[in-house]
């Protein structure tokens, strides 16, 4: 990157499709004006012209270069406005930023992935990447929890994944309806179901802070070492460059040193679950 490149200027991207994933979550398919590459787990800053900018980890495959999909939960001012967008809107993207999932550390392992709610978004990107590299992994056990059946996102993708060799899927909801035939309870209950050889395993966790906290506690209890657990941290990443300070977590700039951290790197920081 040249010294005179202006890093604050977003690349234009056209919104080509909006997919309703749940009553509160939508996916936005963007076509960047030029090829845009990222590593799975890295995040981008998405600009809604004149309104604001917010960090999101793409939910699409890093192997696809001409489209990028961002899955967004309606949670605040900017995300609410984004939810109102129609295809044709021109948006801005900056990035990619930070350190993504450590694929090299996952290869050769039994990968246990624990996701909750909209935390499935970055994990889907990882799952796509792992599917493409199936030869290099032992197996993937994906545990996913959401509030209720309506809030379970990526339903068609889940069905495909269930048919994919080396991939297992477990799902739970906090509150079930009559049609729900899978588990009921918080996401961590799924960890009692799974069969993994912990010595050969690595765990990846992404979800709401409270789920991540109890998820990590449970994994440690199961016998995972702190160095076998990876977390995607969600903080208020704003500049993406380790400058603005909004995402500091102890000495770390989450936007630059993360957003994916190995648990032992951050466990002593105050307030990581907030």
């Amino acid at each position: 990157m040249g010294n005179n490149h202006n890093i604050y200027k977003p690349l234009r991207a056209e919104l080509v499709e909006v997919i309703e994933e749940s009553p509160t979550i939508k996916s936005f398919v963007l076509k960047p004006e030029k090829e845009f590459t990222f590593a799975t787990g890295q995040f981008i800053e998405l600009t809604l012209n004149g309104t604001g900018e917010a960090p999101f980890t793409p939910s699409s495959s890093p192997l696809v270069k001409d489209r990028i999909e961002i899955t967004i939960m309606k949670a605040g001012y900017v995300t609410e406005k984004i939810h109102g967008l129609k295809p044709g809107e021109i948006m801005g993207i900056r990035g990619p930023y930070g350190r993504g999932y450590p694929l090299d550390e996952l290869f050769g392992k039994e990968i246990l992935i624990l996701g909750g709610g909209c935390g499935f978004a970055p994990l889907r990107s990882l799952l796509y990447n792992l599917e493409a590299e199936k030869d290099k992994i032992e197996k993937v056990t994906f545990c996913y929890g959401s509030k209720n059946p309506a809030e379970c996102i990526y339903k068609p993708y889940i069905e495909n994944l269930r048919q994919t060799e080396k991939f297992e899927v477990y799902r739970t909801v906090d509150v079930a309806d009559e049609a729900w035939a899978e588990e009921v309870g918080v996401a961590t209950v799924l960890l009692d179901k799974v069969e993994v050889n912990i010595d050969k395993s690595v765990a990846v966790v992404c979800g709401p802070p409270v789920m991540m906290k109890f998820g990590v506690m449970k994994l440690l209890e199961m016998g995972y070492a702190e160095t076998q657990i990876y977390l995607s941290m969600e903080k208020n990443m704003s500049c993406g460059l380790g400058k603005c300070g909004h995402c500091m977590m102890g000495e770390h700039f989450v936007c630059k040193d993360g957003p994916v951290f190995r648990y032992d790197e951050i466990k002593d920081q105050p307030d990581i679950w907030k």
Binding site: K9, T47, N49, E53, N236, L241, G245, E251, P270
Partner: protein, 336 residues
């Protein structure tokens, strides 16, 4: 040390007016009992204050304006001369340069301003309330980032050109003033003043732990001390705004995909709040503690530069009259 150049006060006044004509020339003048930088012209050139610490505004404001459009072209304006930066503010440029010029990318706006400016650093002839540069390992005279260093003693102005920019500036001054060399007595006098002030600063802060020691002490703190000292904090953010090394900012979006960078402070509520409502710094004592940890514990882990240069402005400016030094002194005393 190479002998300093010397100019008579009468000649200096002539050169000064020429500097003010040719550059955007800023120097400290008095404002209602305090002192701050002002744009110098024929009117106020006579009321410039010399070698007295410390301008109310830190030097950083010349390079990091409060608000700036960071998507427009970096403007090339008239060259700026900032005269009167004390050693604490000069040393703070280490952190600013590391942040905005070093590491992963170069901030073109900061870079343009740095390149477009000449800095005339001041030796401090006295200390002001809450000055504690020496506790941070900084001497009260320019040792870095000053192009030309200046001290005015007994009717003569002494100048030391440190950089090429400083030499250019001295050459410009030489076109309007007779430049001599400081004699041995004068050089000795300057040296003695430095030593005397260093001793005075050391005495005034003899209960204050050094920079590194402060970090070690802070790491061992519990909630009680933060509850106690944050009691009078109103989250106004003045401490960060006035700090020569605080660099945090906010990006504001404007139509046309424009972005405005506005200086920000971790002491403002909601600084780290995310969309879903989680807020790591939501509680006042935690937010208050953040600034101390950032300065003394966390920045040293990631940066080569120090994040407190002992200017004491955060204490000068606090409307709750909270003293950072009092807190550090309390930790230090309890350790012993």
């Amino acid at each position: 040390m190479e002998r300093m150049s010397a100019v008579s006060v009468t000649d200096w006044q002539v050169a000064l007016l020429q500097l003010a004509k040719s550059f955007s020339f800023y120097a400290p003048v008095s404002f209602n009992g305090s002192m701050d930088y002002d744009l110098i012209d024929d009117e106020n050139a006579g009321s410039i204050i010399y070698n007295h610490p410390k301008p109310s505004t830190p030097l950083k404001t010349f390079f990091l304006p409060v608000r700036e459009n960071v998507t427009s072209e970096a403007e090339r304006k008239k060259q700026t001369v900032v005269m009167g930066a004390p050693a604490c503010d000069l040393a703070a440029l280490d952190m600013l340069d590391e942040m905005y010029l070093g590491r992963d990318f170069t901030d073109i706006y900061y870079k343009a301003r740095r390149e477009n400016s000449f800095i005339i650093g001041y030796e401090c002839n006295s200390m002001a309330e809450n000055c504690h540069c020496t506790s941070c390992g900084i001497n009260p005279f320019p040792e870095k980032h000053s192009d030309l260093s200046l001290v005015k003693i007994d009717g003569r102005v002494f100048l030391d050109a440190v950089t090429q920019k400083g030499k250019d500036l001295l050459k410009f001054i030489g076109e309007h003033a007779v430049i001599e060399q400081a004699n041995e007595t004068e050089a000795k006098r300057i040296q003695e003043k430095r030593e005397t002030l260093k001793e005075e600063l050391g005495r005034a802060n003899n209960r204050l732990p050094g920079y590194e020691e402060s970090g070690k002490l802070l790491e061992k703190t519990n909630g009680a001390i933060w509850e106690k000292y944050s009691e009078k904090c109103v989250s106004c953010g003045a401490c960060a705004t006035i700090c020569p090394t605080c660099t945090c900012f906010l990006l504001i979006d404007r139509p046309g995909f424009e972005k405005i960078r506005q200086m920000d402070a971790c002491q403002y509520p909601g600084f780290e709040r995310v969309a879903a409502g989680e807020d790591p710094l939501g509680e006042l004592p935690v937010r208050f503690r953040n600034r101390y940890y950032c300065k003394y514990v966390w920045r040293p882990m990631k940066f080569k530069s120090i994040a407190c240069t002992g200017c004491g402005r955060c204490i000068d400016t606090c409307i709750g009259k909270i003293s950072k030094n009092e807190l550090l002194e309390e930790l230090y005393a309890n350790k012993k």
